[in-house]
């Protein structure tokens, strides 16, 4: 049995064990290693991808449930190539990143969050990030960077 889905806009067919988590298919088969597997329990958010536009933890999604779905990873969230979206650009400008392992997941969650709500409060962002852990930065500078672009028209593009 196989499953066909879209990954970063490209159609892909997967015919391995359909119980395999999406994170492993992305990293091992497609070599899209931007999605990180850290806790494999769904608590840390480092493996966050968009499935049909919604941020989800790819370590807990079996391939068999993804037939016909659209998956976007950190490699594709800004359209691919060398582009960055507004969330990525503000994180860069504020020079926030440290070890970097949690940032792909952070970007995926924050990008979707800003799409839905252009002007979130700091508290709302923190609630949205309860499933994205960072061990290095202590979060607040990430939030400063994101709040600095919130409230702007077309914030995420």
């Amino acid at each position: 049995m196989s499953v066909t889905l879209t990954v970063n806009g490209e159609e892909r067919t997967f015919d391995g064990d359909l119980r395999l988590p999406l994170a492993d298919m992305l990293r091992d088969q497609l070599r899209l290693t931007g999605t990180k597997t850290v806790c494999r329990e769904g608590f840390c958010g480092a493996c966050t991808v968009h499935v049909d536009g919604e941020p989800m933890v790819s370590c807990l999604i079996p391939m068999g449930t993804l037939a016909g779905r659209s998956v976007v990873t950190i490699e594709g969230v800004a359209g691919g190539g060398a582009q960055m979206n507004a969330v990525q650009r503000t994180l860069l400008e504020h020079d926030v990143v440290q070890c970097g392992m949690c940032f792909p997941g952070m970007v995926m969650t924050l990008s979707a969050c800003l799409e839905k709500n252009h002007a979130p409060t700091r508290e709302a962002l923190k609630a949205e990030l309860s499933g994205n852990i960072c061990r290095c930065t202590g979060y607040e500078r990430i939030l400063d960077a994101v709040l600095s672009i919130s409230g702007q028209e077309g914030a995420v593009k």
């Binding site: 926030v96 949690c102 990030l129 061990r135 290095c136 202590g138 979060y139």
Partner: protein, 788 residues
């Protein structure tokens, strides 16, 4: 060229060049190396804490699909360690901790490797276990290392016996006389802390190949040279046969300040002829973490009514776990932390690293400084209360200042802590207090001080000047996220050579390319690697300026490197481009490069006779901190909410203030985890109860607040441009400050960390008797192997 202009050029918020790849998910960490080139290793780990291996048969695993190599102790028989070589890579005939690796196996896929491990026949005979330090120190306790006497001791001056892996003591002055004075108040306290797990998001991982008769270890480490020597030691090969390279590292915090699983992959790589990837699973990472150790402390002080500390005695028990590891070295740091901060008339300190049948511990951001500061500052608040003095005033009167003696008798330079307390008062008054936010809950606040050190030591650097005017900096420094390799170092080199920092290429760590280095951690990258880099630049500068003086027919003393040129000082645009000078030097003597080396200055010395068993008798480069906290305790749930957190940090000189801000915010967050959320408990099987993120609670975004901070510059420092490393010390005082504030809020004695909600609730409800360590004698001399 004046120092001022060099500093002007070096200080900037230079953005890190690795940020974009990290933000777009392109960075390849060690855990991202894969594909069909690589086979996968897994480890068979013990599920009991203490046993004899009666029978081990790996043959059933060898026949399983995809299996390429299997290794046991016989394939890697060397013992390694810090201070004592007591640690086998794979268990030989005895298991000493739950999770100890016994067999390493490589197969085409990880699933195949794990399936094969499941077929290994392992027969164990249980042995008595010592689960706690109290049990380890009891009369007739079973020995974790019955052969302890036979181990090679890698450093002099050891005092060890039985389950005491190492002991470091300080005895300065006459504490008996001090305690017998009629005019003193004696205050005593017992304290206890659990372990803390670093949880870098990239677990320990390595990819190892055997190429041209040598091991190439590509690994997520902070210490390439240690990995090199440990791999050589356990495999029984010359160190020159091991090469270590290090890509971007996804966090370390000290977990990776030692070798661990790399040699397992190395032996499998040689056996199989393939590249072998080994990555700890999250469960393995959590359950065999080289944690910040759990510890038990007893401290007592004799203090006059005016607040003079005439005598202080303390005993600290530090849990090594099954092997000595970093704790052996860290016994030296008790004197400088628990015995730090304040002037002491006399002092006796005993610091004992104790073996138990639990996972080995290691180094974690400010190590035992964190819990020693907690115990010391709690004790200090209790002293102040006992003599009726304001807690901050007591500190003001007693903090170390210029020419004061430390616990080991070293002489401190400069008044640093005193002025830093002033700066904290200013910071506090600027932002005002947050009591109103407590909103009906119990409100508390505290200010604490701390002393730590910069881990100076061996570093080497080479600077190659390229014909286009760029410079390549070659060191074995590693970028673990702290930013130094991306910011401070290129800033220093750029300022030295008068080129833009974008033109400084920083070579990633490769032990085949650079000289020896103690590693990244302990705040040493900026200081030690920075100093070596600055020295290398001086050599390059000499070569350039000598020739440029001739080229420009100008006195060498008038020439500077600035703006990509060799110019006359104070006259920008004169002289010539650096490229032209480089070309001239190359034509005369060949390509331009310089080498620099650095080691501990050894300028600080202890008083003779005070100190025994110490790796570090005095600290060459102390670093100080003042922290302040306001919080609210919910009496219905025991939850603690931080309302304000303030830091004054002794940075020497802030090379990249924005980066330091990041380290302070991150370090305080990690400290809040230590103080309030992160708990490791060990069950009857010698295993951690907390196996993953469901039960090991890291602070989340809602659990932290923005830290207010002030960077204190100007304290004496041997670091380049007067810097001190800034990455480690933000965590030092957080446990102490939160604990003192919770004690203030609840009116209860806080003697233990972490202050999780159930523990705070138990405090408020007076559920538990006062902490008392029966196994630490109130008579100090009974807590040391040496005669007093």
């Amino acid at each position: 060229m004046s120092d001022a202009s060099y500093a002007d050029r070096a200080v900037m918020n230079f953005p890190r060049r690795d940020a974009q790849d990290k933000i777009t998910g392109r960075t390849r960490y060690t855990t991202d190396v894969g594909g069909s080139e690589v086979i996968h290793a897994a480890l068979l780990r013990s599920e009991v804490a203490s046993a004899r291996i009666v029978r081990l048969n790996v043959e059933p695993a060898r026949r399983m699909p995809g299996v390429r190599a299997i290794a046991t102790h016989a394939d890697a028989p060397g013992l390694y360690g810090i201070g004592i070589a007591d640690h086998p890579l794979l268990a030989r005939d005895v298991i000493r901790y739950h999770g100890e690796p016994i067999v390493a196996l490589a197969a085409d896929t990880l699933d195949q490797a794990r399936a094969a491990l499941a077929l290994i026949e392992l027969e164990l005979a249980p042995l008595p276990a010592v689960p706690t330090m109290a049990a380890a120190l009891a009369k007739d306790a079973p020995l974790v290392h019955p052969d302890w006497k036979s181990y090679a001791v890698l450093a002099e001056g050891s005092v060890r016996e039985g389950n005491i892996a190492w002991e470091a003591t300080v005895a300065r002055g006459d504490t008996d006389a001090a305690f017998n004075r009629p005019d003193v108040t004696i205050v005593e306290g017992c304290y206890q802390v659990g372990r803390q797990s670093h949880v870098p998001f990239e677990p320990r991982a390595a990819v190892v190949s055997f190429e041209d008769g040598r091991f190439h270890v590509h690994t997520s480490t902070q210490v390439p040279w240690t990995v090199r020597s440990v791999t050589a030691t356990v495999l029984g090969v010359p160190e020159s046969q091991v090469r270590v390279t290090v890509p971007a590292v996804g966090g370390g915090f000290g977990l990776k300040f030692d070798a661990s699983i790399e040699p397992c992959a190395a032996v499998l790589a040689r056996m199989s002829g393939r590249s072998v990837s080994i990555i700890n699973s999250r469960r393995e990472e959590q359950m065999t973490c080289l944690s910040r150790e759990n510890a038990e402390i007893r401290i007592r002080s004799a203090v006059t009514q005016e607040g003079e500390i005439v005598g202080r005695e303390a005993t600290v028990l530090m849990d090594c776990g099954a092997y000595g590891g970093e704790q052996v070295f860290l016994t030296s740091m008790t004197a400088h932390t628990l015995g730090g901060n304040y002037r002491l008339g006399s002092a006796r300190i005993s610091s004992r690293a104790v073996y138990t049948n639990t996972p080995p511990n290691g180094a974690f951001r400010a190590c035992n400084g964190v819990y020693n500061t907690f115990a010391l500052e709690r004790h200090t608040d209790e002293i102040a209360d006992a003599i009726g003095m304001d807690r901050l005033e007591f500190r003001r009167r007693n903090v170390l200042g210029d020419k004061d003696l430390g616990a080991t008798g070293q002489v401190f330079e400069g008044d640093v802590l005193g002025p830093m307390i002033d700066r904290m008062e200013t910071l506090r008054s600027k932002s005002g207090d947050r009591e109103a936010l407590a909103d009906g809950r119990l409100y508390g606040r505290a200010t604490t001080v701390g002393t730590w050190f910069i881990f100076v030591g061996l570093s080497a650097a080479t600077v190659n000047l390229n014909s286009d005017g760029s410079a390549t900096l070659v060191t074995t420094g590693v970028e673990i996220g702290q930013g130094t390799m991306m910011q401070a170092l290129p800033q220093i080199v750029a300022a030295s050579l008068g080129i833009p920092p974008e033109q400084v290429i920083v070579k990633s760590a490769d032990t085949d390319a650079a000289g020896r280095d103690l590693g990244v951690g302990g705040g040493r990258t900026t200081v030690s690697i920075g100093a070596a880099s600055a020295a290398a630049c001086e050599e390059v500068k000499d070569k350039l300026l000598d020739v440029a003086a001739e080229m420009l027919q100008t006195d060498r003393a008038q020439l500077v490197l600035a703006n990509g040129r060799v110019e006359i000082a104070g006259r920008p645009g004169t002289g010539t481009t650096i490229q032209q000078v480089i070309a001239e030097v190359e034509s005369r003597t060949g390509p331009v490069s310089g080498n620099g080396a650095f080691t501990a200055p050894g300028t600080a010395t202890a008083l003779p006779g005070c100190v025994a068993g110490h790796f570090l008798e005095a600290i060459d480069l102390p670093v100080f901190a003042v922290h302040d906290c306001e919080l609210a305790v919910d009496p219905d749930t025991g939850q603690v909410e931080i309302l304000a957190y303030r830091v004054v940090q002794d940075v020497g000189r802030a090379l990249n203030p924005r980066a330091i801000h990041g380290q302070i915010q991150g370090g305080v967050a990690q400290g809040l985890g230590y103080a309030l959320h992160e708990e490791i408990t060990i069950n009857g099987n010698g295993a951690f109860d907390q196996e993953g993120f469901e039960t090991y609670h890291l602070p989340l975004a809602a659990d932290v607040i923005p830290v207010e901070f002030d960077l204190y510059e100007g304290a004496p420092s041997c670091g380049p441009l007067g810097t001190k490393g800034a990455g480690e010390v933000p965590i030092l005082n957080v446990g102490a400050t939160v604990a003192c504030a919770v004690a203030n809020a609840t009116g209860r004695k806080v003697s233990a960390l972490p202050l999780t909600p159930p523990r705070v609730m138990a405090l408020i409800d007076d559920r538990q008797p006062e902490l008392h360590h029966d196994h630490i004698s109130p008579v100090w001399a009974e807590n040391t192997l040496r005669s007093a």
